[in-house]
Every structure is written in structure tokens, then in C-alpha cells.
């Protein structure tokens, strides 16, 4: 690797002018953002999670801002893979950049089932397999904390698609390096590091959590050093590219993640403040590197 890192990236055999990917769940399927004209500077969009059956999602409130971050408890709300295939994906055919579909499952088999149904679409470049969701069929811990289960999920997906896919790991328990190695062994073409950290806000006056599910996914610009450490650990342990996810708010953050070993860099929560973050981050990076 050369330093400062190049802003132009090669990923999955394709050249990308921008390393920025919009993170799953913060950009819909990209079509709203196309309307808003804010896909400039964006290398790729990752869709919100798609599951086999429609999911209404968690009861509100689904969001809670803390002084330095955001708790989300969306609950993988989505209209189900068939609706996505028939009604949403066709509308994304004019996205100016590649689309990855984020896939959620409640059992090891469901991931492959969702992927095989999506195979009949040709608008998307590949998948992001979200093994951070709770394994409902097997006790409720996230799939991603058990390398054995990650291996089986990845093997299942490999079997039904020739498209590249990334496995998105969870930072909440287990050993991310072991899970990453298992994903690669199972055929993953990239590792996404990582999903949200479990967090909670307690109303001390009442002893109640405002979020009904109590714990939620926490994101914050202050988590960047945690993500940098994990990206560095995982990218040193596996041969496939690492996609970072978490903690980006400025161009310098993206450069730091690239230098730590990320091949592409996702941005999520920052879009809530700055829908045009793609272009803004690119500007900031170019100013810093002179590229």
C-alpha cells in the first residue's frame, strides 16, 4: 500500500472513483437519494436489509439521540424480498453507481433463500450478508459471533450466486478475526467491518429504556478508533478486501480507514446530518491529499 492512500479504488474487479459506500439502512435502495441528487461522490450504495418475509419493524420510537451519538432500533423493517425484487429493484436501474443488496435472515438457510430469489434481478452488483442480526432459529445471539455459523451462512450463499458478496460482521461479542476467516473460507469476497455496537439509554428518573427493545444499535463519530482497530486487525488476517462501516464524519476519517486497510469505506449516520456527504467527503479528501 502507498501512503497517503489513493482515493480511486479497485474493488471486486471494478475501478471506483470514490471509496465511499452508503451504509445499509441509511440510504434506502438509493432511489430517494437519486431524487435528492445526492449520489455525487458515492462509489456504491448498500440497500437496507432485505429479508424473506416482510418485516414491519420495531415499535416506535426507533431512534434516540444521545449527546454524542444515535441509537437505532429499526428492526430490519422491509417489505420482503419478493416486493423488493418486483417493485423496488426495477426503480434502481438508473442509479449512477453499483448497488449491493444487504440480506438479513433469521436462520442459516434464509440468507441463501433471499439471495437465490434476488438472483433474477440484474440491477445489483453483489450482496452484503448481514450476519449481525439475531439468530432467531437458534437462541437469538447474532449469527456473526460463531465462526462455525458464519461459515455455513457463507457457504450457503456461495452455492446460490456467482456474484461477489461481503459478510458484514458484528462487534458485539465473539472474535471478529475468526468470524472473518470463516466467512472467507465459506466463499465471501469481502468482509464488512462492522455493524452497529449495542448501546442503551436509560431514563434514570423512571428506570425505563425509551427504546422498547431496550438495547439498540449505537453509532457515533467517536467510535471511529474502534472501527479503525477492527479494520486493521481483520485486513491483516484475511486476503479479501475489507469494507469499513462506522464512525465516518470527515474526509480525514475515510483516509484513516483506507490507511488502516479498508478497501472501501461506508458512511451511514453522517448522512442523517449531511445527505450530500458523498461529495463533501470526496472534496475534503482531495483537499487533504492533493489528489
Amino acid at each position: 500500500m502507498s501512503f497517503p492512500p489513493n482515493i480511486k479504488r479497485k474493488f471486486w474487479g471494478k475501478l471506483f472513483d470514490s471509496p465511499i459506500m452508503l451504509a445499509s439502512g441509511t440510504a434506502g435502495f438509493g432511489e430517494e437519494l437519486l431524487n435528492l441528487n445526492c449520489l455525487a461522490g458515492v462509489g456504491a450504495v448498500v440497500s437496507k436489509a432485505v429479508s424473506l418475509k416482510p418485516r414491519a419493524g420495531n415499535p416506535p420510537p426507533r431512534l434516540l439521540e444521545t449527546p454524542y451519538g444515535l441509537l437505532n432500533s429499526i428492526g430490519l423493517a422491509n417489505p420482503g424480498v419478493h416486493h423488493v425484487l418486483n417493485h423496488i429493484l426495477p426503480e434502481t436501474s438508473n442509479l449512477p453507481c453499483p448497488l449491493l443488496i444487504n440480506v438479513a435472515g433469521e436462520s442459516v438457510e434464509e440468507f441463501a433463500d433471499v439471495v437465490s430469489i434476488l438472483e433474477s434481478s440484474n440491477v445489483h452488483m453483489g450482496y452484503e450478508i448481514n450476519v449481525s442480526c439475531p439468530n432467531v432459529a437458534d437462541g437469538g445471539a447474532a449469527f456473526g459471533v460463531d465462526p462455525e455459523v458464519v461459515l455455513r451462512v457463507a457457504m450457503g450463499v456461495s452455492r446460490v450466486t456467482a456474484r461477489p458478496f461481503s459478510v458484514k460482521l458484528t462487534p458485539n461479542g465473539g472474535d471478529m478475526v475468526l468470524s472473518a476467516k470463516a466467512a472467507v473460507e465459506g466463499g465471501a469476497s469481502a468482509i464488512t467491518v462492522c455493524n452497529t455496537f449495542l448501546g442503551m439509554h436509560m431514563d434514570w428518573r423512571t428506570g425505563k429504556s425509551i427504546i422498547k427493545r431496550k438495547v439498540a444499535g449505537y453509532t457515533s463519530p467517536a467510535l471511529l478508533p474502534l472501527v479503525v482497530a477492527k479494520v486493521w486487525q481483520v485486513s491483516n488476517a484475511v486476503s479479501v478486501p475489507v469494507i469499513s462501516s462506522g464512525g465516518v464524519s470527515h474526509g480525514e476519517d475515510v483516509l484513516q480507514l483506507l490507511a488502516a486497510g479498508a478497501q472501501m469505506v461506508q458512511v451511514g449516520t453522517r448522512l442523517m446530518r449531511r445527505p450530500f456527504a458523498g461529495a463533501e467527503l470526496m472534496d475534503e479528501m482531495k483537499k487533504l491529499t492533493g489528489e
Binding site: P60, R62, L63, P67, A77, P221
Partner: protein, 257 residues
């Protein structure tokens, strides 16, 4: 339903700031783009500070339009609105808008407006745009009554108008005179109004909702309002104004915002 202009992210100049009631601030922003495209009931997402925190914007209803801009009227309740409250003339603020679907205003429709406290904030813009039969306002006390030329005002402590709740102002006459009924205020007040309105008038009712928001433009699924079919609709995109019949009051109240 009126179609919406594509929202844009504007750098708006603050031209005036006024404390209209204790802890209630009105700010005028210069912005021709929003002035030219906004519809009553729409909102904007405002960046409370140029720093990194807070990580999301704050949604505020467009209180009214001026020739070359718009005004917001808001309650100072926490981190974000405290930062917004000190915005002053000369400041430049990032504002995304106009957002959401506003009041569904059929041409020629006569309106009854029912507001609770600061919920009446957005009514100025609606009132400026439609034919209003009557405006009924309830508030806790005179410090919470927005200047609006209301037809009838009641307060819980009797400090303005007579003592009582806004539901006491709702009469069959008001309801029959109106083709459309706009309701805006705290959830409990809106539910009381809804229950007071007889079945036969309910199809006329439109409810302006609020929810904690992430994006404000439909991508994060964070702002769900429970809907009577058991599912959810997005406050930011499919709302904030919904037909009253859409709302699942029980589940919405459970959310506790």
C-alpha cells in the same frame, strides 16, 4: 394530495429572531428556494450547530412563508433547540427542505383548525393558504398561546379565554361548517379531539404527526407512525400530515414519542 418539490439543502441567512413567548423562539430565514416551493404542513430539517454534535438535524414545521424566505417557531426543550435558540441575524444555517406531505388542501375547501399549545405553530401558513371557517385553540396557559387570531381560545388555567380544554370548543356547528379539519398538538390532545369528533365527521380530519427523525427524507425508516392496518407509515415522507383514519391511536400513544 399535492405533489412536492424536491427538497434542497440550503445555506439560509438568519434575518430576524424573536422570543414570541417565554422559551418560544421565532426565527426568520432568507431562502427563496423554500419560499417558492413550500406548502402548508411541510417541514424543514435544520442543522442546530456547525460542530459534529448533535449527529442529526431537527425537524421543524414551516410556520409561515415570507416573500423571500420562511419562519420557524419552536419551543426550546433540549440540546438541539437550545443551540437553535441562540441563532441570530447574520448567522448562516444549513436547512434541508421543504420536506414531507403537508395538509391535503382541495380547492374551495372550508377549514376548521384545532390546535393544542405550540402545535398550532404551523397553522399560520395553512390559514394564509386556505379558506378558514374557524380556529379553535387550547393551551395550558396564556404563555403557551401562539398569536394566531384564533376564533376561540381556552386555557387550562383560564389565563387566556375561558378555562377548559380545546375539546370543549368543538361543536356540531363547527364540524358541519367545515369540509376539512386540521388537528395539530400533543398526541393526547389530538386523540381527545379525535374521540370528541363524531364518526360522521371523521373522514374530514387530518392529523399532523411528529416523530423522532433520522434523515427526514424517507431513507432510514426511523420515524414510523403506527397505522390502523397494524403497520407503520413514515412521518417524514408519507406524513407528517395523515388522514385521521390512518392513525392507530393506541400504538401511537404507547410510543410515548
Amino acid at each position: 394530495m399535492l405533489s412536492c418539490a424536491v427538497p434542497l439543502d440550503y445555506d439560509c441567512l438568519v434575518t430576524r429572531r424573536e422570543e414570541v413567548l417565554p422559551g418560544v423562539v421565532k426565527i426568520f430565514f432568507q431562502c427563496e428556494g423554500i419560499a417558492a416551493t413550500a406548502l402548508p404542513g411541510q417541514f424543514v430539517q435544520i442543522e442546530p450547530s456547525p460542530g459534529t454534535f448533535p449527529v442529526t438535524r431537527r425537524p421543524i414545521t414551516i410556520n409561515s412563508l415570507t416573500d423571500d424566505g420562511f419562519e420557524l417557531l419552536f419551543d426550546v426543550i433540549g440540546r438541539g433547540t437550545e443551540l437553535m435558540a441562540v441563532m441570530s441575524p447574520g448567522d448562516t444555517v444549513r436547512v434541508l427542505g421543504p420536506l414531507g406531505h403537508g395538509w391535503m388542501t382541495d380547492p374551495g375547501s372550508k377549514w376548521l383548525l384545532i390546535g393544542g399549545g405550540l402545535g398550532a405553530a404551523g397553522f399560520q401558513f395553512l390559514k394564509d393558504s386556505v379558506d378558514t371557517a374557524a380556529i379553535l385553540i387550547g393551551a395550558s396557559c396564556s404563555d403557551r398561546v401562539i398569536p394566531l387570531d384564533a376564533s376561540f381560545v381556552v386555557t387550562e388555567d383560564g389565563s387566556t379565554g375561558s378555562r377548559g380544554l380545546v375539546t370543549s370548543l368543538i361543536s356540531e356547528e363547527h364540524l358541519s361548517n367545515a369540509d376539512s379539519i386540521a388537528v395539530c398538538g400533543p398526541v393526547a390532545m389530538m386523540e381527545a379531539v379525535w374521540k370528541t369528533i363524531p364518526e360522521k365527521h371523521r373522514h374530514k380530519v387530518q392529523i399532523s404527526t411528529e416523530s423522532r427523525m433520522g434523515c427526514g427524507w424517507g431513507v432510514c425508516d426511523g420515524c414510523s407512525i403506527p397505522i390502523s392496518d397494524g403497520g407503520y407509515k413514515k412521518c417524514c415522507k408519507e406524513g407528517p400530515v395523515f388522514p385521521g383514519t390512518d392513525i392507530d391511536w393506541k400504538r401511537w400513544k404507547e410510543a410515548g414519542l
